[in-house]
């Protein structure tokens, strides 16, 4: 389809409630008093009696219902799509041209209409060929348009809403076919150039600075020209990487569940919950110098504890005392026990960790090193310990993951409107919870039990291609480009963006549209030196004696030949046979040729 012939059209069957749907498309055969004013007498009688006829019409309605659900569930939830052949306008033209009277009944039989529409669909062939691949291709190519066609030209609609006469309907069908043929893209169209210009022209209208996402979450998203540059250049590090996490259908319901998942995902280190961390010299492990802790130590050591008694001798006199921030602990839903357990797990028993009660005034964690016997190389005085302890302190504070997935710094809860399709009510808006993160770790996030791996996406292309593969990244690229363009309200037909995505991914890996991408792939030497880095590319080419097969337009221009694009795709050759049978003509002498 040529983008020039495409207009946004409405698929109204998508938004209808069931009752509207029935009223628009279904014939009420079973109603005793059914006497429609839009059918002639003959067909009404037939419909009431002839079951074959009724089956045909029922099948039609069934197909329409199937279309509706397929559209909503598999394809898209938007009801206005860009499609060729503006059916509504053509119908209006037909009504005007043929002076359709809205009071009179149409002279058509519903069966005729159904058959005519079926025949029309067969004739709208985009992909010729009879093999299975071509047939599937053809079906895919005309899927949306056929749905639109069927729903607009359903027999009841033609008779009741549009009241088209036979003449008008036949003209309409012919017109649809002609216009459909007309909206094919011309062979030899320079789609690359057109796509580049379409995207580029819009890029000039984008903002040069990034915008802050306005909203409750106050989350930063790069937009505008810098984001476009990141996407097209497939930057390895991007300014605002983020994941958009959808939850499994069951677990996204209450905000409590969502909060739990949020806590699970958000990466918390000990530093986040720490208030103060200090190293003390506290020689007696059973007692303490610090006054605040006296009570808690005494009560702790009253209850006999095996571990402690065993290794009492080898406990280091140096103490790492960490005071935790109560609010943060509550916010992150952590308990002292969790932390202690984590520490023990990480350090494998080399550290002794004591913590006081949850309800005490201050939450205190006391950590001492266990000096095991089997450290022959180490000096047994206390001086090396405190240095070591300091190192442990910094390590624990920054590196130890208490909770969540490393890489995900912050998680925001967002409520979005999701359009769900329902047989009864058509398309309905539905509120759902989802999470958006700052920072990304797609692989780890997808493995979480409540996260719906099928719908979680990342906006970082390199990550997507590593985790999910090339096809996924093509789709992701398309989505990201759309987000950038549509933020400013601009519209680019998706075929241009799709072409760009395809060009970037068709080699099996992400090719950036920069010197690196274009120059490093298998373009000829002329393409490379004409793009950037002239001297380097030329010298490289010369050193390896490369051949340039002169395939691109630039090279044709450089060497002054008619490039084989557009009108240059074909050449005229004289037909030798006809020349043989040709008659010589005498040119009139008034031309002055001697």
């Amino acid at each position: 389809m040529d983008a020039v012939w495409i207009e946004t059209q409405n698929l109204d069957s998508l938004k209808m409630k069931k009752s509207d749907f029935d009223r628009a498309f279904r014939y009420e055969f079973d109603n005793e008093n059914w006497n429609p004013n839009f059918l002639l007498e003959g067909p009404i009688e037939e419909l009431k009696t002839n079951t074959e006829l009724r089956n045909v019409l029922e099948a039609e309605v069934l197909k329409l219902a199937h279309d509706r659900s397929q559209l909503a569930t598999e394809i898209t939830c938007k009801s206005s799509l860009p499609l060729p052949v503006n059916l509504k306008r053509l119908i209006r033209n037909a009504q005007k041209d043929f002076k359709v009277d809205f009071q009179k009944t149409s002279d058509m039989h519903p069966l005729e209409i159904v058959e005519a529409v079926d025949r029309l669909q067969e004739r709208l062939k985009v992909v010729p060929g009879d093999d299975l691949v071509s047939q599937e291709d053809q079906k895919n190519a005309t899927l949306l348009f056929s749905i639109l066609l069927r729903s607009s030209l359903a027999s009841k609609r033609v008779l009741q809403e549009y009241r088209l006469s036979r003449e008008a309907f036949e003209w309409l069908v012919g017109e649809i076919e002609w216009r459909f043929q007309q909206s094919f893209v011309t062979a030899g169209e320079m789609i690359g150039c057109v796509a580049a210009q379409s995207i580029g022209e819009l890029a000039t209208q984008l903002t040069l600075e990034t915008f802050h996402c306005v909203g409750l979450s106050a989350k930063n998203v790069t937009l505008g020209v810098p984001r476009l540059r990141e996407i097209i250049g497939t930057a390895k590090t991007i300014q605002t990487p983020s994941l958009s996490v959808q939850l499994k259908p069951g677990s996204g319901v209450t905000s409590e569940d969502v909060k739990r998942v949020q806590c699970d995902l958000e990466h918390t280190t000990l530093r986040r919950v720490t208030h103060i961390a200090e190293v003390w010299y506290d020689p007696e492990p059973m007692n303490t110098v610090i006054e605040e802790d006296v009570d808690f130590i005494k009560s702790y050591f009253e209850t006999p504890n095996e571990q402690v008694s065993l290794q009492r001798n080898s406990i280091s006199p140096w103490l790492l005392r960490i005071e935790l921030d109560r609010e943060m602990m509550v916010d992150k839903k952590l308990s002292m026990g969790d932390i202690a357990e984590k520490i023990n797990r990480v350090f494998n028993g080399d550290l002794e960790c004591i913590f006081n009660d949850e309800n005490a005034e201050k939450l205190v964690l006391r950590i001492r090193i266990m000096n095991g016997e089997a450290h022959p190389g180490e000096i047994q005085d206390g001086s090396a310990d405190h240095v070591f302890l300091k190192k442990i302190q910094s390590n624990m504070l920054s590196e130890m993951t208490l909770h969540g997935i490393p890489g995900i710094n912050k998680v925001f809860i967002k409520a979005i409107d999701v359009q769900k399709f329902n047989e009864e009510d058509g398309l309905q808006n539905h509120k759902e919870w989802m999470l958006e993160t700052e920072g990304g770790n797609l692989l780890a996030a997808m493995c979480h039990e409540h996260v719906d791996a099928a719908r979680t996406t990342s906006n970082h292309l390199i990550e997507t291609i590593e985790v999910l593969g090339i096809e996924a990244v093509r789709r992701s690229l398309l989505d990201e480009l759309r987000v950038v363009m549509s933020f400013d309200g601009l519209y680019v037909n998706c075929r241009h963006l799709a072409l760009l995505c395809d060009v970037m991914t068709y080699r099996g890996h992400l090719m950036a549209i920069t010197t690196h991408g274009i120059a490093r792939n298998d373009a000829g030497p002329s393409m490379r030196f004409l793009f950037e880095e002239t001297v380097d590319a030329l010298c490289d080419a010369a050193v390896s004696a490369e051949t340039d097969h002169l395939r691109s337009i630039r090279e044709y221009n450089m060497l002054g030949q008619v490039a084989p694009f557009g009108t240059g795709q074909c050449a005229l050759c004289p037909n030798d046979d006809m020349l043989n049978n040709a008659n010589e003509l005498q040119l009139p002498s008034s031309y002055g040729w001697s």
Binding site: M190, C193, A542, M558, G560, Q561, V562, F565, G566
Partner: protein, 821 residues
Amino acid sequence: MYIFPNMGGLKKKARFLAYMVKGLLMAYTGRRRCDNRDDFRNKRLELAGELLERELKVHIAHARKRMSKALQRDLYSDREVRPIEGYLDASIITNGLQRAFSTGAWSHPYKRLERISGVVATVGRTNPLQTMAELRRTRQQVQYTGKVGDARYPHPSHWGKVCFLSTPDGENCGLVKNLAVTGLVSTQMPENILPELLDSGMEELLDDTSTDLGNKDKIFLNGDWVGVCTNSSAFVTDLRNKRRRDQLPHQVEIKLDKSLKEVRINSDAGRILRPLLVVENLHKIKESKGTKWEHSSFKSLLENGVIELIGPEEEEDCRTAWGVRYLLGKGGDKYTHCELDMSFLLGLGCSLIPFANHDHAKRVLYQAQKHSSQAIGFATTNPNIRVDTLSHQLYYPQKPLFRTMTSDCLGKKWFPLGNNNKLPKAEFYNGQVAIVAVNVHMGYNQEDSLVMNRASLQRGMFRSEHIRSYKSEVDNTESKEKRKDNVNFGKIQSKIGRVDSLDEDGFPYVSANLQSGDIIIGRCAESGADHSIKLKHTERGYVQKVILSSNDEGKNFAVVSLRQVRTPVLGDKFSSMHGQKGVLGFLESQENFPFTRHGVVPDIVINPHAFPSRQTPGQLLESALGKGISLGGSLRHATPFSTPSVDDIMDELHRNGFSRCGYERVLNGRTGEMVRSLIFMGPTFYQRLHHMSEDKVKFRNTGPVHPLTRQPVADRKRFGGIKFGEMERDCLIAHGASANLYERLFTLSDSSQIHICGKCKNVANVILRPVSGGRKIRGPYCRICESVDDIVMVNVPYGAKLLCQELFSMGINLKYETQPC
């Protein structure tokens, strides 16, 4: 001690140093505001005299150093010491000044080795308003553009001194300012005013540190601490009265700063002052009727204290009324001063615009800054005698119907009196009054174009003549040195152009018609070489004047000026006084225009779409006012800020029998039937700008090419082409127009051929080579295979051949595979 050389006495210096430290500490702690760099009280303007003095000083110092060096050389080497004039090299000063003037690079005020650029600029002579406006322009030097955002903003201290509307847009926005209408710059005063100060009650500062100055106010003269006084307000009032009585020079500024307990008196050069009416002395005007100084001059008003000059510092102490009528109202007695007129806060360009306060500021800026200096008017009053390189002259310049206060006030005493025995004004309006209808006209005036009445143009509306002069010099035949080839004026048969119009002496006769390609001044050398001056491809005209003369160096030179009469054609640019510029789109015959019942036909039709987004109701008001005036009405002034109200204008129109809102009932010129909607018509002042399509039209089929690349040259003057860039190439590609691209980039540009050897695939040369039989023929030959077989000729652009050869010189060889097509 070298510190504070202007103060004598060590203790005085100590006190001043302490004062500076105190100021610094107070600023640091926030008790005193830091000085604002952009406030005009901290700025000084350097006028021409100061600049010249500085430059001259630098050069004289330079000459002196040279002189002393030369003297010393002679003294040391025991040579004869010549009289001193022999050592003074006057050419250092002459050449230095000349260079400064020609390059515009001036010496820096305090950095010895740096130069400021852009000090000298050619004054424009397109029309007298441009000249005046350029002479009143100030420039601010900034080293780095971009950071100094604050310097570009208007500051409250600019009020009345510098026009805050007219500033160029672009990189100089806010840095180049124009003086307001009544702004004056102070000059250096030779007199010392210290005695006056002492008279009024100042105690001199003693050179000790023991006297207690705690409760006394400090008095500063031009930044020097000269004394103290106890009662500062009385002191200040006394000084001001002295100034009003002409006992102190009028340029002196006196400021009392109560918060800092200082009195600052400024008398240095470079301050911008503006005159204000002194309220308490206003009664003197009435008393002066009959005395000798009635209405005589500004100076007499100044001497009698009715007007005084106020600078930026003193302005803070004045309570100024906006206009005289506010003085007469209820709160009139709280004012100390009064503005002369409300429009005087604008600059020259802006205050000539009628109803400027009704227009969007951007449009006023366009008019004041750009259009007024591009308008064609009466540039000089002696065009017959002058030979400018380029000058325009409007055939029938007119005065507009309205008047503004500024235009009324511009006049000189010695001009002959005009009507009404009032002083005539210097005319700064450059254009004509045209009847303008605001209407669509068959779609020809869309997007800012205008439709004009062909009959009016034939009667001479907006017709102008353009005079261009060509100058040429010859060597003096009487000079002592015999050059190789003496060039002289004379007519010879020339290969480069037509000489039909030249007389025997090498100059064309007056009123000869010269076209492009003609020789305008014939010069030939004794050897016969041709040095004539030829007209370039867009220049033509009738010879207006031929002048033969000699310049200071003794060389003969000749000037020939050509005159062109230009009636407006499609594409010429016009503008109203409100920044509504437009290009002539169509010339309509008079009979096809809509006409009113009086038979009035518009001269110009402007599209109504020009007004909503540009927001210039000033033009419509001007039109309505003009209609009222032309019918004999009494409202005339359209001064910004004191314009007649819309109601007054409507009443005036109604009194004269026209529709209140300026509408007219018109009849269609083509069909004769009445047009159902009313059209707004009225006389508006329009200017013709000097952008004319004839100066800009470009065309070329084949023409000169660049010698290196053999592609067409770029200049319009040299008959060049227009660049077909990469993006245009992309557009052709997107359309699939392959053959068009081929034609544009190859056939019409630099098509040429090269030869390629089929065997070794290299480029073959075309050389002269001997052939059996003893002759030499010119043909292709492959040097590498050393044969002539298998050589093919291909069409490639010359650029490709050039690239191939350049790569070859770099050591990269290109080989070509060929195929018959």
